[in-house]
């Protein structure tokens, strides 16, 4: 083995090791402290109308049928647990689902916005995914933008009579990709040191694409398996959850 070959092998090993130990390819939570103060406030304010609408809808639902409070809380815990479990991934790093597509399909976008803010707060405090100051930005991308797109796609597919598996897959995958694009936009608006906003956006999209695109597809497949499983074994439970969706 020549000297040069040895060098190349060492470099490759170092490279592999570095990416091997990168611990957590979580969904696109913006890290604590990564956005400047003004942007944290702006994204938070942007979320407020959606949160108020969600809160009103939940309040109305619960005042009509008090029994739904435990169901609603269980749904929130379900989203948290599903997004904190390691999913089987191709590269061997441990990655997580966002659960937004699944949540939107099962519980409807209005209740997911409120459940989303609670889940994201818990993820920040208990798992250190995301943060307190970036809560507003994360809520906007993961609990509002993603679920609304997922639900819209699912709804349109249902109206036009597309195969159920295909529509669930599309809803979950595209919702996930949309979340990732919104996050890239949020980061680009805040940080563009020597390029334009669009240049910075391109860079963020490119850097996160290798982890996020496969993740979105895997999430789509898993969501299809989960929804199909529920369709075949849990008709009454789905009907119970459907109450959360109807009351809007």
């Amino acid at each position: 083995m020549s000297k040069r070959q040895k060098k190349i092998i060492t470099l490759a090993a170092a490279f592999a090791l570095m990416f091997g130990i990168v611990p957590n390819v979580s969904a696109m939570h913006i890290m604590e402290g990564y956005l400047p103060g003004a942007f944290c406030i702006a994204w938070g304010v942007l979320c407020v109308p959606f949160l108020i609408a969600g809160f009103m809808s939940i309040k109305k639902t619960i005042s009509q049928n008090r029994k739904l409070i435990t169901l609603l809380a269980m749904s929130g815990a379900f989203i948290f647990v599903i997004s904190s479990l390691k999913i089987p991934s191709v590269t061997g790093s441990c990655s997580h689902m966002t659960g937004t597509g699944l949540g939107a399909i099962l519980f409807g976008p209005a209740s997911v916005s409120i459940l989303g803010i609670i889940v994201l707060l818990f993820q920040a405090i208990l798992l250190a995914h995301g943060g307190l100051t970036t809560l507003g930005a994360n809520v906007f991308s993961m609990a509002i933008a993603g679920p609304f797109v997922s639900y819209g796609i699912y709804f349109v597919c249902k109206k036009t009579g597309v195969n159920k598996r295909v529509s669930v897959f599309l809803a979950a995958t595209i919702g996930d990709l949309f979340t990732y694009c919104v996050t890239a936009v949020q980061m680009a608006i805040a940080h563009h040191a020597d390029t334009t906003i669009f240049g910075a956006m391109g860079k963020f999209l490119a850097v996160f694409a290798p982890t996020q695109v496969p993740l979105a597809i895997i999430e789509g497949i898993i969501t299809v398996v989960i929804v199909m499983g529920l369709e075949s074994y849990a008709k009454p439970e789905l009907r119970a959850v459907g109450f959360l969706k109807e009351a809007k």
Binding site: V22, P23, N24, V25, S26, H29, M31, E32, G33, Y34, G37, F55, R66, K67, I69, T70, L71, A73, M74, G76, A77, F78, F80, V81, I82, L85, I87, P88, L115, I118, V119, F122, A124, I125, L126, A128, H129, G131, L132, T133, H191, A193, D194, A200, K203, F204, A206, V207, F208, T211, I218, I221, I222, T223, V225, G229, L230, Y233, A234, A240
Partner: protein, 252 residues
């Protein structure tokens, strides 16, 4: 199950007044994020690190390992901020690739360094809160701050259910492992999906049972829990106020 949750119940600062800890963490966090200076970030990182590890009694190795949790995000996005691919080289360095350059300017380099420091300091503030204050205490503080009652109640219930569902999920995944459920990639995807759907079914039936048992114990729309009260100490409050004023004047 959730390491942070387990650790914070063992912290030596657990029985301090929750409002004090919450105020300290949040105000420091705000000053750190608003000022965005490397010096403030360094001070904050040192102070909260020492408080969490030395006063709180969290093992150093654990703490450092937790600081690396957001590392993947930090490395990738800072790389995106620092490096540019363009036709003309910038002032810090430039690596030619074909007709293009992978290049960075010194301005964006310093920007990236202060950003990384600020982010790490902010994470250390968050860790101070989550390594010393159990979730029920944080909820108590939120209740004092007039967060809507329904939200608090939902958070209390969700916090409780998370552990029930995690327990169920880990039992299911153990039994899937025993039965060759993760034999190859395709099976493991299918197993994970099945775990998800069974978990949902269990969750719905659990929630029904829980409501029945709450009803049997005279549930009337509010959940009342007793909370231990640890009165704030004047010395600690004075210390916090002094520290924040100093930090604030330093940030200006």
């Amino acid at each position: 199950m959730i390491t942070i949750d387990k650790m914070c119940y063992h912290s030596k600062l657990r029985y301090e007044n929750a409002g004090e800890k919450f105020a300290f963490a949040v105000i420091t966090l705000l000053i750190c994020v608003m000022s965005r200076s490397a010096a403030v970030a360094g001070i904050v990182l040192a102070v909260t690190g020492v408080l969490t590890v030395w006063k709180g009694g969290i093992p150093v190795a654990r703490y450092v390992r937790f600081l690396t949790v957001p590392l993947a995000f930090l490395i990738l996005s800072t790389a995106a901020i620092m490096f540019n691919i363009r036709r003309t080289p910038l002032d810090l360095f430039a690596l030619p690739i074909g007709g293009w350059y992978l290049t960075a300017s010194s301005h964006s380099f310093f920007y990236a360094v202060s950003l990384v420091l600020t982010a790490l300091a902010a994470v250390s503030c968050l860790y101070f809160l989550s390594f010393t204050t159990p979730m029920p205490d944080i909820l108590q503080v939120l209740r004092r701050l007039h967060c809507p009652k329904l939200m608090i109640e939902m958070m209390l219930l969700i916090y409780r259910f998370i552990f029930i569902l995690l327990d169920t999920a880990s039992a299911i995944s153990t039994s899937q492992d025993c039965r060759m459920g993760n034999r190859d990639y395709k099976t493991s995807l299918k197993s994970f999906g099945m775990l998800g759907s069974v978990l949902m079914i269990r969750a719905v039936s659990r929630s029904g049972k829980l409501y029945d048992s709450m009803e049997a114990r005279c549930y009337d729309g509010t959940i009342r829990v007793l909370s231990e009260n640890h009165p704030p100490k004047k010395k600690v409050i004075a210390g916090i106020v002094c520290f924040e004023l100093l930090l604030f004047s330093f940030a200006l």
